[in-house]
Amino acid sequence: MNITINGTSRIVNAGPLTPLLHVLREELDVLSPKAGCQQGGCGTCTVLVNGEPRRSCLLPIAAVEGAEVRTVEGLASGGKLTPVQEAWIHHYAAQCGFCTSGFLMAATAYLEKGGSDDHAEIAAALGGHVCRCTGYVKIYDAVAAAARGESFDLATTAAGSRTTIRGVEL
């Protein structure tokens, strides 16, 4: 069976019902999708299949034969990060980093479809992705800034949108 991963055709030997996550991690050494729950409940394994975010832990490889699969390994090119990757750094949207790959791919799909900086739309696009370090505000800030086409200074961290309450700096 052939699957195209980040533009490269790969031959897969696993059986047709093997989850894509298992094939990526254990057979092809594509390690950005993580085995967080393997029940579709946490979003750490999200990859793009023909541009759509999918939970790779629930997706049998037979369902992606011939499809274009994209992971975090395929985002930066020639050492140049994508705007959403830069936004993640500048807005401090990663703490332990374990959820980051899944969030980045869901955010990438959202932005490639012209997603706006609207909070509710970002929330819907990232729904089902869990961050247990509870960095959601920073993640929303990063996606919204990327949606606005901002440029990012990677030598500093942005002020967060919730660092003041009623005008009082916290």
Partner: protein, 456 residues
């Protein structure tokens, strides 16, 4: 100081967003076996027999370990702090919580390792289980632990962490009102997105490399070495990258058993818990039962506190005596109460053992104290902020265990927070500082407790 106040980028942010960060499960060693554990299906049972022969005979199974393979099966995580060990690495004669590991297997695949654990035959005599700390002291309560239902080994072989300060009976005699409350925060699972995981790789020279997700590297190294009776230089720990821990990866959950399997199989072994294992069997924040009675004056001074804490340790002590000690030292919260009678028990139940989580031992008492202060304010018909500002710790006030505070922050924090939520404090509290008490801030009942911060 270039860093304080500066908006520096994370040192590891670029690695995180490019998937350059290598978590334990991302380590790739050719020929690595998968580990699985056989876990107790019972909350409390005697083990009558363990037969691993069918699992050992399965093709593709390279090692099966039980208590017989462990040099020192019972080792306390913090024996160095005087907390004796009570928990077997692999159960021998008794299981005391559902999910307690009894045996472990290393096999060619995850599925095969799972099937092999299911081929291990264990017979049990099931016993009644204890789940409610309030029933632990009843004469007819099920026995949850071989030391009895509460930890008996605090210093001086006391069966509780105890604090006595000032004259509690006088405080209650002088009170206008006694305000009582009971507070019972539940157990909480940490739910790190990375489940418990490690990989252990034998080296040709006899050393073992342990890739660990632990939050406590050298501590975990000591625990593994103690169980094996090995010198530390036979272990090389590689860690520092953790996919969320929140206290739940302080316990040495996987490293020792995986090392045993690597020793016995002479192969690299990986043990990654499933999400179900993480939820059901990994340690949790403890459930707590706290009863508070405060002797209070009608103008809002807290003269004294009697408090009983029952900490639900689950089946084994682990760090619980340490957590209850911290809890005891903080049991008045951010406030000064000069007369105290505190009794804190580490109670055993047949629940999953509990451990550290974000503010170990202290968040429980913060919840209880802050809720109780609201109750006091409601009882007296006072502004809850005024009750807090009045009793807030100041320089020179002493903690429950008698240490003078040198830099308490209750007053400025309360002032900042009241501003943030748009509440205007009365003039006296707007200008109050943390300075040593005097004038109307130093009523007679707080004189004797004052210490000299310079003595600390």
């Amino acid at each position: 100081m270039k860093a304080v106040g500066a908006r520096l980028p994370r040192y590891d942010a670029t690695e995180h967003v490019t998937s350059g960060t290598r978590y334990v499960d991302d380590v790739r060693i050719p020929g690595t076996l998968w580990a699985k554990a056989l876990r107790s299906p019972h909350d409390n049972a005697e083990i009558l027999s363990i037969d691993t022969s069918k699992a050992e005979a399965m093709a593709g199974v390279h090692a099966v370990v039980t208590f017989k393979d462990v040099h020192k099966n019972v080792h306390g995580h913090i024996e160095g702090l005087g907390i004796p060990g009570d928990e077997p690495l692999l159960a021998e004669t008794h299981v005391r919580y559902k999910g307690q590991p009894i045996a472990a297997v290393a096999a060619d695949s995850e599925a095969l390792a799972q099937r092999a654990t299911e081929a291990i035959e264990v017979t049990y005599k099931v016993l009644p289980a204890l789940f409610d700390v309030r029933k632990a002291f009843d004469a007819d309560a099920p026995q949850a632990h071989h030391w009895g239902n509460w930890y008996p080994h605090f210093e001086g072989e006391m069966d509780r962490r105890q604090i006595r300060k000032g004259d509690i009976e006088q405080a209650f005699a002088d009170a206008d009102v006694i305000v009582q409350g009971t507070y019972r925060p539940a157990a909480i699972e940490h739910v790190p997105l990375e489940t418990q995981v490690c990989q252990v790789v034998p080296e040709a020279g006899g050393r073992f490399v342990v890739y660990s997700a632990t939050q406590a590297m050298y501590f975990s190294m000591g625990v593994v070495a103690a169980h094996l009776n090995w010198p530390l230089n036979k272990l090389k720990f590689v860690g520092g990258t953790t996919g969320g821990g929140f206290g739940g990866k302080v316990d040495t959950a996987t490293e020792t058993i995986t090392t045993l399997l690597a020793i016995k199989s002479h192969r690299p072994v990986r043990w990654r818990w499933t999400r179900a294992e993480e939820f059901l069997f990994s340690s949790t924040r403890a459930a707590w039962h706290m009863e508070i009675a405060d002797a209070v004056t009608k103008d809002g001074w807290i003269l004294g506190r009697k408090m009983l804490t029952l900490h639900d340790a689950g089946a084994f002590a682990r760090f619980s005596p340490y957590g209850v000690t911290k809890h005891a030292f903080h049991h008045t919260g951010a406030y000064t109460i000069p007369n105290l009678e505190f009794n804190g028990f580490v109670v055993y139940t047949n629940r999953t053992p509990s451990t550290a989580m974000r503010g170990f031992g202290v968040t429980s008492v913060s919840f209880a104290t802050e809720t109780h202060l609201e109750r006091i304010a409601q009882t007296l018909g006072m502004d809850p902020l005024e009750v807090r500002m009045k009793n807030a710790t100041r320089i020179g006030d002493t903690s429950p265990n008698g240490i003078p505070y040198t830099d308490p922050s209750t007053v400025p924090v309360m002032q900042a927070l009241s501003g943030a939520v748009g509440i205007e404090l009365p003039a006296h509290y707007r200008t109050m500082t943390s300075a040593i008490r005097s004038g109307e801030d130093l009523p007679g009942h707080l004189v004797a407790q004052l210490g000299n911060p310079e003595d600390h």
